[in-house]
């Protein structure tokens, strides 16, 4: 069962206020050079189908409860990966009006991937680290 979960992590990508740099690196993961389908990762359109939520960008006021709602719509077990300096802690926009901060101010985060933007190799590294920690039993994804 765990084997199946490790081999078929479906991701959902959500941008909660990013400048797009991290997003295009996430989309680049699907393209021939990086091709994450090798690992069984599929980009799913609906939150109800996904296991892992990839969020990019700092959380703005308007996006805050959308982010929360999307997180709640995902079925368990679910994991969250915060990609980029802005998602981790607010980045350059920390302290602006209309900005709440990093993603962990709204939803619990499992893996932080720093960078501005992180290279696709770094994102794959982060996802693999998450899978390894699921395998090791440290994360159960149940909240």
């Amino acid at each position: 069962m765990k084997w199946a979960r490790l081999k078929s992590p479906w991701v959902l990508h959500f941008n909660s206020g990013a400048c797009n740099a991290c997003d295009i690196e996430v989309v680049a993961l699907l393209t021939p050079r990086y091709d994450v389908e090798r690992f069984g990762i599929l980009l799913e359109p609906s939150p109800r189908h996904a296991d892992i939520l990839l969020t990019t960008g700092v959380v703005t006021r308007q996006c805050a409860d959308r982010l929360k709602r999307i997180y709640e719509q995902m079925p368990e077990p679910k994991f969250v990966i915060a990609i980029g300096a802005c998602a981790c802690s607010g980045g350059v926009f920390e302290g602006n009006y209309n900005v709440i901060g990093g993603v962990d101010k709204v939803i619990p985060v499992d893996v932080y991937i720093p960078g501005c933007p992180p290279k696709p190799e770094a994102i794959i590294d982060g996802v693999v680290k998450l899978l390894k920690s699921i395998e090791g039993g440290e994360q159960s994804g149940k909240r």
């Binding site: 959500f14 393209t31 209309n98 290279k119």
Partner: protein, 528 residues
């Protein structure tokens, strides 16, 4: 044929006493301050004199007791600014949307951020700030500091969305976004549809609003470059270039020739990668996944070049005030040229595909048509305008960096449909490859950076750059301290959003993503 002097003369002739003062911001850019009620007539005169003119941006500046409103009009290869002041206590001014519909969103933004009421505006609702923002707190006014705005952490209720009342009962309300596979960014478009035909479109932007214009006022100029680059990751070099150009204009510094050529190279690389990104994304939107994968695979060639040049794949951090930050190594040049030649061969394959593939053409030909008149009235810029036959390109109209020394063509197509806009971008990729090759061949020697004074003298300036999505407009005002007084950014997608409403209404729901993607929206630019 209109010219700037003729327009200025016409203005002074008809307005006469109502002009308060005239000054020159920069060589070629005049500023005419008029009495508050006269601004509409002034704008009307300029638009009549040059029928290809358009309001490029509307800037608000807090001058203490008054708010200064500047109407920047793009005409005759330059910008003429009409200014009017309104008192803060009673900030009301007449709207110009009846003579220039494209000013709709600009005015809404100023009213959101400064609290100026535009009388006669057809839709004076909130644009950028969230629905539950406290009333009467206008962020860009100087007296409002970020610390005063109540924090929202901890109380996430269901956000109060404005109730969309549709004009007819049987229309179904479909909401596109904020989380939607078609848009990689969160924005909300409410479509009222009747069966499969879209009747009304109501965009709600502001989900990516990070308050950059206000943040720029509390960071030094050098820090602002990094802030402004992250308005949009895709066209980041253009934002940095425009900001630096504007600040250099205030300082009166001119950049060494080698730096100008290097800036040109990075700007064109930015253009190629952005266009290829969009063309692949267009493939994804119309269900053509194979095109998406092929295009992005070839785009990796450009990312390699950018990594060799700047050290980073996406955010270049290459341009600074006074020049560029690093030099191009001689041994990299042949490698870059080889990759560009490879890219050029692939381009002929794509050109053939776009011109002959039947399913692609069925989805994009005659879909989302924008006529030339509408394009001019709505004030659209960039490939959207050029796809409708409007011949505008800042690189040729007001050359910056090294564009006055490098020959290139401005691509226009007349059809005005989605296919035309995609073809404009495809051809522009070819042109950009030529520009980079020419620049590499003629790269001048010398310093790549010049020392600039530590403080920026008092002054103001306007800078324009042709970003991949169109004309990027910056207005910077300095008050002699280490921090800027005002940084105004008008991004190309902000000017183009209205065209989306125009194109989608009356069309098929299924065409909405296809026409939408051909407009190449970049919402992080729009919201700042």
């Amino acid at each position: 044929m209109a010219s700037a002097d003729k327009i200025l003369k016409a203005l002074s002739d008809s307005l006469g006493k109502r002009i308060i003062q005239t000054r020159t911001l920069q060589p070629g850019k005049s500023y005419i301050q008029v009495q508050t009620g006269a601004h509409k007539d002034a704008v009307r005169i300029v638009l009549q004199e040059d029928n290809e003119a358009g309001v490029s941006a509307i800037t608000g500046v807090d001058l203490g007791e008054t708010i200064e409103l500047m109407y920047h009009i793009r005409t005759c290869d330059t910008i003429i600014t009409i200014g009017a002041e309104v008192p803060k206590k009673d900030a009301k001014i007449e709207s110009i949307t009846d003579i220039f519909p494209g000013a709709n969103f600009h005015e809404r933004e100023v009213s959101d951020l400064f609290g100026v009421t535009f009388e006669g505006h057809p839709n004076p609702k909130r644009l950028i700030l969230p629905e539950d923002w406290p009333e009467n707190v206008f962020p860009l006014r100087k007296e409002v500091s970020v610390a005063n705005i109540p924090s929202k952490i901890g109380n996430f209720g269901v956000s109060k969305d404005e109730k969309h009342v549709s004009s007819e009962e049987r229309l179904v309300n479909i909401v596109l976004g904020p989380q939607h596979p078609a848009l990689i960014e969160p924005e909300k478009f409410s479509l009222r549809v009747d069966g499969e035909i879209v009747r009304e479109v109501e965009p709600r932007i502001g989900y990516v609003h990070r308050g950059i214009e206000k943040a720029a006022e509390s960071r030094t100029y050098l820090q602002d470059i990094y802030l402004v680059e992250r308005i949009c990751g895709i066209c980041n070099a253009c934002h940095a270039a425009c900001f630096c150009q504007t600040v250099e204009a205030i300082m009166g510094v001119s950049v060494p020739p080698r730096a100008r050529y290097l800036r040109t190279i990075i700007l064109e690389l930015n253009r190629i990668h952005s266009h290829m990104l969009l063309l692949g994304h267009a493939g994804l939107e119309i269900g053509y996944e194979t095109l998406f994968h092929y295009m992005w695979r070839d785009r990796e060639l450009i990312m390699d070049i950018m990594e060799a040049l700047t050290g980073n794949r996406v955010i270049a951090s290459f341009i600074t005030i006074g020049g560029v930050r690093r030099d191009l190594k001689e041994e990299d040049v042949p490698k870059i040229k080889a990759e560009l030649t490879k890219l050029k061969e692939r381009l002929s394959f794509y050109k053939n595909l776009f011109e002959s593939d039947s399913t692609l053409k069925i989805r994009t030909r005659n879909v989302g048509v924008l006529s030339k008149q509408d394009a001019l009235k709505l004030g659209v810029v960039g490939p959207v305008a050029r796809g409708s036959g409007v011949n505008m390109d800042v690189r040729r109209d007001e050359p910056y960096a090294a564009y006055n020394e490098i020959p290139f063509n401005v691509i226009t197509y007349d059809e005005g449909d989605s296919w035309a806009r995609l073809m404009v971008r495809l051809d522009e990729v070819g042109e950009s490859v030529n520009i980079i090759q020419y620049a590499l061949d003629h790269l001048p020697t010398g310093p790549y950076r010049v020392r600039v004074p530590r403080t920026v003298p008092t002054g103001e300036a306007i800078g324009r750059v042709e970003a991949p999505r169109g004309e990027l407009f910056y207005y910077v005002k300095s008050n002699g301290t280490a921090y800027p007084e005002r940084v105004k950014v008008r991004t190309p997608t902000f000017a183009n959003i209205l065209s989306f409403v125009h194109i989608a209404e009356g069309g098929n729901v299924a065409d909405v993503p296809a026409s939408f993607v051909s407009l190449d929206p970049c919402f992080s630019c729009t919201d700042r």
